[in-house]
């Protein structure tokens, strides 16, 4: 999947699920401090990403350590590519 499309999809999920504004969704944004997400929201994110990208994140603990939206894009990109292969 094209990286820009992937980013748009991630942003759409975050905007829909957590009522975030598109101007907040920049790669430098910190998920918890800047976007106001918490560990409960992280579970909902997983559900949204698994459904939207057809991937299985499951017990992958890498996601727990992600701090910024840019890191989240990279994680989704890597997971999609790994599982597509």
């Amino acid at each position: 999947m094209d990286k820009n499309m992937m980013k748009e999809k991630v942003n759409q999920i975050l905007a829909d699920e957590f009522e975030l504004e598109s101007n907040e969704l920049i790669p430098e944004a910190r998920l918890y401090e800047d976007l106001g997400l918490d560990s409960l929201d992280a579970v909902d994110m997983v559900v949204g990403f698994e459904k939207a990208f057809g991937i299985k994140i499951g017990k992958n603990t890498e996601l727990v350590n992600i701090k910024t939206l840019g890191e989240l894009y990279a994680f989704i990109d890597k997971t999609v590519n790994l599982q597509a292969g």
Partner: protein
């Protein structure tokens, strides 16, 4: 582990607070438990029907049993801290004397957090459904924290 087994051995709830009787089966991400609503059941609150929020407690306790049998994690019984409830629907009340079947299934996991769907039935009657977000903490983690 051979089922059915008493729930008390698998969940951290002690006498009086244990609201489910028996664990009927456990698969990797699914558990089935049951309870008979005797007159002295905690969640009847002295009435003839189960307190409606009691459906959530039944599901949460069954969810504990699910991790209590997680031998891969070698954790023994686990505390399931209920973080949130979504899409909770009650279709019918549960009445005194009835036997309820509680089915809980993990749909998503992220580290210690799990998302679970549950339903409660009595015979062919669907009584309640919902979704729980649960934080699992193993008994040995709690002991270490207390030291």
């Amino acid at each position: 582990m051979i089922f059915p087994i008493p729930a008390r051995g698998l969940i951290p709830h002690r006498e009086g607070m244990c609201c489910i009787d028996t664990i009927l089966s456990v698969e990797r991400h699914k558990v089935q438990a049951c309870v008979v609503l005797h007159a002295d059941h905690l969640l009847l609150s002295g009435g003839r029907t189960l307190d409606r929020s009691g459906f959530i407690e039944l599901a949460a306790q069954a969810a504990c049993a699910l991790k209590g049998t997680d031998t891969d994690a070698d954790r023994g019984s686990a505390t399931a801290l209920l973080a949130s409830v979504n899409n909770f629907q009650i279709y019918e009340d549960a009445r005194i004397g009835e036997t309820l079947l509680i089915r809980v299934e993990i749909t998503t996991e992220l580290a210690a957090m799990s998302l679970l769907n549950f339903n409660v039935v009595c015979g062919q009657r669907l009584l309640a459904t919902g979704q729980l977000k649960v934080f699992y903490r193993a008994e040995n983690e709690r002991s270490m924290t207390a030291q």
